[in-house]
């Protein structure tokens, strides 16, 4: 059947190699070189060249019926291989229309590897570069902190310049909207703490001290810490995404040329709001955590009054204020980190995703780090 025959012709290509002279290789290519067949032809032809590197390669192309971009790619590849080994290259009898297509490409332009950026550098070089980038990042961060401090002082001196509408908006999204999540986490936290400690403490007949444990760890450590982590995940990432998107859309540029300071306009309201709302959220988390603990203690058979009395006797104002002070710092750090990563956003669609991730990751690292510093300082202060 003619149709059948045409079909087989359409999808085949044949390569024959012939050494006509000790150092001259003739590659005879026949058939169609298109995206379907070129793969096979490519492997065959380069396989032949891998074994023998002829001083002279002639491609006999008279029987190439069709040759599209991929075919041209193969011919170029053969040419490049010969260039690399210093051999000569020649194409004979290529049809003029294909010849025209081929002549659009100068092999010299393709000699470099296509994507240099993906190439891996030597290990020491990578370490050096990473260190350099890290230090550069740190320098930018220090400059950013400086600008924030100046902006906050300005805001403090002229409170009327602060965009309170935006502050209230952030208070709502970062604060009020976070209440359910924080309630859930702290409640379960209190429950788990009490439950886990009740079993061993019971063996010593010390079950009532579960209340002390829950109260101290919630107020001093877990309340502020969990609040900060929720804040990073919800608001730090949102700040980075919002500001990053504005950066990409040139909105930040537009603001700058309108004479509006993006720091004053975008960053100060967010930081002020976070500064105000984080301690409140932390107190809320403390309270809900204690409620969680109370459920376990009551199920151990103690009345609620006993639990409350125990809690009140266990914690001092200093414990409470210590936790509160931490959450002020956490609030500033989380919001500043979100804004910093947002402002750092580079060009491109994936850039916002990267900044958001970085905001969360560096936010969490900083929080844990700062928490550690607080513990040491509190220890030496005897708090």
């Amino acid at each position: 059947m003619p149709v059948e025959k045409q079909k087989t012709e359409e999808t085949t290509v044949a390569i024959e190699a012939e050494t006509i002279h000790p150092d001259t290789l003739v590659l005879k290519i026949a058939g169609r070189l298109d995206s379907e067949t070129t793969g096979k032809a490519w492997r065959e032809a380069t396989g032949i060249l891998d074994h023998s590197s002829p001083a002279r390669l002639i491609v006999e192309a008279a029987e190439i019926e069709y040759c599209d971009g991929s075919g041209i790619g193969l011919l170029l590849e053969l040419h490049l291989r010969q260039n690399k080994t210093g051999g000569a290259f020649e194409i004979r009898n290529l049809r003029s229309e294909f010849q025209q297509l081929l002549s659009l490409f100068n092999p010299a332009e393709f000699e470099k590897p296509v994507n240099q950026r993906l190439e891996h550098d030597a290990f020491p070089e990578e370490v050096g570069e990473a260190t350099y980038n890290y230090l550069k990042d740190l320098k930018l961060l220090v400059a950013f902190v400086g600008e924030i401090v100046i902006s906050l002082i300005n805001a403090f001196l002229n409170p009327r310049r602060v965009r309170w509408k935006d502050v209230f908006h952030v208070l709502e999204t970062a604060g009020i909207d976070a209440l359910p999540v924080i309630a859930l986490i702290s409640f379960i936290m209190g429950l788990i703490l009490a439950f886990q400690s009740a079993i061993p403490m019971r063996q010593f007949g010390a079950d009532i001290y579960v209340a002390n444990l829950v109260a101290l760890s919630m107020l001093r450590e877990l309340g502020p810490l969990m609040t900060a982590i929720v804040l990073v995940g919800r608001s730090g990432s949102a700040f980075a995404a919002e500001i990053g998107t504005m950066k990409i859309n040139e909105e930040i540029d537009a603001m700058t040329t309108m004479g509006i300071d993006p720091f004053q306009f975008l960053i100060v309201p967010r930081i002020v709001a976070a500064f105000l709302v984080t301690p409140l959220l932390a107190v809320y988390a403390d309270l809900i955590g204690l409620i969680g603990g109370s459920i376990v203690v009551m199920s151990l058979g103690f009345p609620l009054v006993t639990y409350i009395q125990q809690v009140v006797s266990a914690v001092t104002y200093i414990d409470f204020m210590g936790g509160l002070l931490k959450s002020f710092v956490f609030g500033i750090v989380v919001s500043a980190m979100g804004c910093f990563r947002g402002m750092q956003t580079k060009i491109g669609a994936s850039a916002v995703g990267i900044s958001t991730t970085q905001a969360v990751v560096s936010g969490i690292i900083l929080i844990v780090f700062i928490d550690g510093i607080f513990s040491v300082v509190y220890y030496y202060l005897g708090i």
Partner: protein
């Protein structure tokens, strides 16, 4: 018509680029008050880069830029604000503030820089929207508008403070021919009546012939200006082949369009 006055924008031996690369080298030109000055050139040759230098968003590697006699490169604080108050910018992609309505977008500059009572600000903002044919869309969010409408809104915002100089990146890219001609007329009108100076990046040849007082053409290879002059002059006698081809394609495409 080149008005032989003091230039309102003076760019002297500007070299500009990004961390890895120099995009423009030793570029000098002047723009005179009331002029419609057009920047031409292929994609990626540095038109936006040049514009961002002129509005002080990027610091040059070397060279000087004076806007109305003030050095925008080194201006700080109050001095810088004075320069910025006198310019309006329309960005290539509009750059409207996505979290505000059109009216709020335009009001913002008025809120920051004037002590007008709020109703006056609203009225002025509505006037600007009317000027670009967007009356009735005051309470739309930018994402609820088509691309061309966003562009017109961006022009309205650039004009919020009635600046002396308007910079426009890709004025008519992505607009239909009718809107594009309307915008051209708007530009002409503003230039003639309010004596606003325009620096415009565009590729639309009919538009160039209609509005341009003077043109500069940038080139990626040359990293600078390859032609400067009135469009008609450049069409008739330009030495550079690329410039010649550009302007004469204009003629041929125009004649085929009218034929």
């Amino acid at each position: 018509m080149t008005l032989q006055k003091e230039p309102i924008i003076h760019v002297d031996k500007l070299t500009a680029g990004y961390e890895e690369s120099v995009i423009l080298e030793n570029v000098s030109f002047d723009v005179y008050p009331g002029e419609i000055f057009i920047v031409l050139g292929g994609s990626g040759c540095g038109k936006t880069t040049l514009l961002k230098q002129m509005i002080g968003l990027l610091k040059p590697i070397s060279g000087q830029i004076l806007i109305a006699g003030r050095d925008i490169v080194n201006a700080e604080g109050e001095e810088r604000l004075k320069v910025l108050r006198n310019i309006g910018v329309m960005y290539q992609r509009g750059a409207l503030f996505g979290s505000m309505t059109l009216l709020e977008n335009i009001r913002l500059a008025l809120e920051e820089f004037t002590d007008l009572p709020p109703p006056a600000m609203d009225l002025i903002a509505m006037i600007k929207l009317k000027l670009v044919g967007l009356n009735g869309f005051e309470h739309y969010m930018p994402t609820e508008l088509s691309g061309g409408m966003q562009k017109r809104a961006a022009i309205a915002r650039a004009m919020a403070l009635d600046p002396q100089i308007l910079f426009m990146d890709e004025l008519s890219a992505g607009l239909d021919p009718v809107t594009s001609v309307e915008l051209d007329c708007l530009v002409l009108n503003l230039a003639r009546t309010l004596k606003i100076t325009f620096v415009i990046v565009t590729h639309e040849l009919p538009s160039i012939y209609l509005i341009a007082d003077r043109v500069i053409m940038l080139d990626k290879g040359a990293k600078g200006i390859i032609a400067t002059g009135r469009p008609q002059e450049l069409r008739e006698h330009s030495e550079n082949i690329y410039v010649h081809r550009f302007f004469n394609r204009a003629v041929s495409s125009r004649s085929t369009a009218t034929a």
